[in-house]
């Protein structure tokens, strides 16, 4: 049987620029290459020589969709290096801030980027003609997430209010109360979105991943926790580089991450949920049961359900945080820089985001290392593609392409986040 190649030159409905190539030889998928041609952005090098106080403004610009994740991993790593412990109300406000990002990012992905795959539309614009209510619901959810981000961060894109030790300004109770009304409506909308997504036809597909997520003693993880895996890994963020490695691959400007001992692993909502379902409130678990979301979902096409469940949880959690909020006595703890290394890992909407900074005694960055979730998921995305393509070899080419693209979007990849890491090697002769 002749060989054939299938190419998708530009993958739509993902953040950033990438393409896909499949080589099929004698009826077997011989090679899969998710090529990321987004130009490298050199953020780690750009951070070198900068003061600690500039980090949050710089890293927020890595991603327009998840700037809070970058700010939170950054701020925790800096505070780890300087030995700063923030006050409990500041910790609660940071979690509330993160809830806003989960709500807006997940809602955008679920309805605008991923749902059209399941319902057979080329995009959300075409889908909106037949599913207007679902799209309006997503717009309203996204707006609520953005409002929460704006309230705590000053603006929704590249927020400006987070700082080392806390916030520049903290909200009053009177400012938060109207947000609660919006969040109650958002919670109802999120439940409707979950039930809507549960009605989609899901391809039969099962993968056994090593799942990696944060785990906290009593919280569903966002800002804090140890890095754990379904294969028994249990480490602090400072040990991340002992267990994980980043590898350059020829076809991508993004590095591929791997567990040093076991290779590919999955981060993101499926991993977070499977490893932390017991940290969700009973009513959220009941919703998962109602829509048939198994405690450990192994079908990546069903990750859309986990995202919708997490939107519901983020609304719930934000309401709880607002109800118990007492404005802190001080908006921030002054930072005293010192020489050292700081590490942090937080749960971005797409999975764990690792930051490490080495500072001199004045708090100037000597080295920075940032590992986004999409870089970590690239290997499993390619493995998924290999299996999805193998299972769909009999499909017409356009259908196979569509199924492969849907498979990539299962992981909500943020390509431009992942493309910061190309090393520039200059050989002088």
């Amino acid at each position: 049987m002749a060989s054939r190649s299938i190419k998708v030159d530009y993958i739509a409905r993902v953040e950033g620029e990438s393409s896909l190539a499949l080589d099929i030889r004698n009826g077997v998928v011989d090679a899969v290459r998710l090529s990321i041609f987004e130009p490298p952005r050199f953020f780690e090098a750009l951070l070198r020589g900068r003061g600690f106080g500039e980090v949050l403004d710089i890293v927020a610009r890595i991603c327009g969709i998840c700037p809070i994740a970058y700010q939170m991993s950054g701020v925790h790593a800096i505070e780890d290096a300087f030995g700063i412990e923030v006050d409990p109300p500041i910790r609660a406000l940071r979690r509330l801030f993160y809830c806003g990002e989960w709500i807006q990012s997940h809602s955008l992905h679920i309805v605008m980027l991923h749902a059209p795959d399941f319902l057979g539309y080329p995009d959300a614009i075409a889908m909106a003609r037949d599913h207007g209510a679902a799209v309006e619901r997503a717009l309203a959810l996204k707006k609520t997430g953005n409002e929460l981000i704006r309230l705590l961060g000053g603006r929704e894109i590249h927020p400006i209010n987070a700082r080392v030790g806390g916030f520049y300004r903290v909200p009053s109770r009177a400012e938060l109360d109207p947000m609660a009304e919006s969040l109650k409506r958002a919670r109802d909308r999120a439940i409707d979105m979950l039930r809507w997504a549960a009605s989609f036809p899901f391809p039969e597909f099962v993968r056994e991943y090593e799942l990696v997520a944060l785990r906290h003693p009593d919280e569903y993880p966002m800002n804090a926790g140890r890095i754990v895996s379904s294969a028994g890994l249990d480490i602090a963020a400072r040990d991340y580089e002992k267990e994980f490695i980043e590898l350059q691959v020829p076809h991508s400007t993004a590095l591929h991450s791997a567990l040093k001992r076991r290779g590919a692993y999955l981060v993101g909502p499926m991993a977070r949920y499977a490893l932390n379902r017991d940290r969700l409130p009973a009513e959220i678990r009941a919703l998962a049961d109602e829509v048939g979301l198994e405690p450990r979902c192994r079908n990546p096409f069903r990750s859309i359900l986990v995202r919708a469940l997490e939107v519901t949880y983020a609304c719930d959690e934000a309401l709880r945080l607002i109800a118990t909020y007492e404005p802190p006595a001080r908006a921030f703890i002054p930072a005293e820089p010192r020489a050292g290394v700081g590490y942090a890992c937080t749960e971005a909407p797409r999975g764990i985001l690792y930051h490490c900074y080495r500072f001199d005694e004045e708090g100037t960055i000597l080295d920075a290392r940032l590992v986004p979730p999409t870089a970590q998921n690239q290997a499993v995305i390619e493995e998924d593609l290999q299996q999805v393509a193998t299972a769909g070899l009999d499909l017409p080419v356009d259908d196979l392409k569509a199924r492969c693209e849907q498979s990539i979007r299962n992981h909500d990849p943020c390509i431009s986040c992942a493309a910061h890491f190309l090393q520039l090697n200059v050989h002088r002769i």
Binding site: V14, E15, G16, E17, G64, I65, L108, M112, L113, D123, A124, I125, A126, A128, R129, G132, V135, E136, L139, K142, K143, N146, R155, E156, I157, C414, I415, S416
Partner: protein
């Protein structure tokens, strides 16, 4: 809208004022703020384009102003009536994850949430570097577009008043 009232108009300046000619939309919005006639509102959009759908709720006439990448001549002004036609997507830098201006307009069309009149003025930029001011070509275009918008709204309002007079 009550009879005799002029239609509510909204001018939306899209862009980042800290990125050279990308700031031409907000610059036009600034020029209009001091000259806005009764019934005209101004909105500046620097972030999520999807926010437009809500921003123009309740307005009959919406005029968008934005910069585009240079193709022929910096400062060139293009006008599109978007009520019955699409913004030519190649004229717009494609947003990827975030919905861009063209996608947002088409989404609103699908949802039946376009205003009665939707007009876009696009201005070819020359430089988009961080921290740079508008180029002289964009400054001139901003003055011209501000005048064009005021003239266009005056014509629409006049026609409306004449129409309302006939019904009175």
């Amino acid at each position: 809208m009550n009879e005799g009232e002029v239609p509510r108009a909204l001018v939306i300046g899209v862009g980042n004022p800290d990125r050279g000619d990308d700031g031409v939309g907000p610059a036009i919005a600034h020029r209009l703020r001091t000259r806005a006639p009764s019934g005209m509102s101004i909105f500046e959009l620097g972030g999520d384009a999807l926010a437009l759908i809500e921003a123009w709720e309740g307005f009959s006439i919406v005029i968008l102003v934005d910069a585009i990448e240079p193709t022929t001549k910096p400062g060139e002004i293009y006008r599109f009536d978007l009520r019955d036609s699409q913004l030519p997507i190649t004229a717009m830098p494609q947003s990827s994850h975030a919905f861009g201006l063209a996608e947002t307009i088409e989404l609103a069309r699908s949802l039946g949430r376009l205003p009665q009149a939707l007009i876009a003025y696009l201005i070819e930029g020359e430089r988009f570097e961080t921290g740079t001011p508008l180029s002289p070509a964009s400054e001139r275009a901003a003055d011209l577009v501000a005048d064009k918008i005021l003239a266009e709204l005056a014509t629409i309002n006049k026609a409306f008043r004449a129409g309302a007079g006939r019904h009175a």
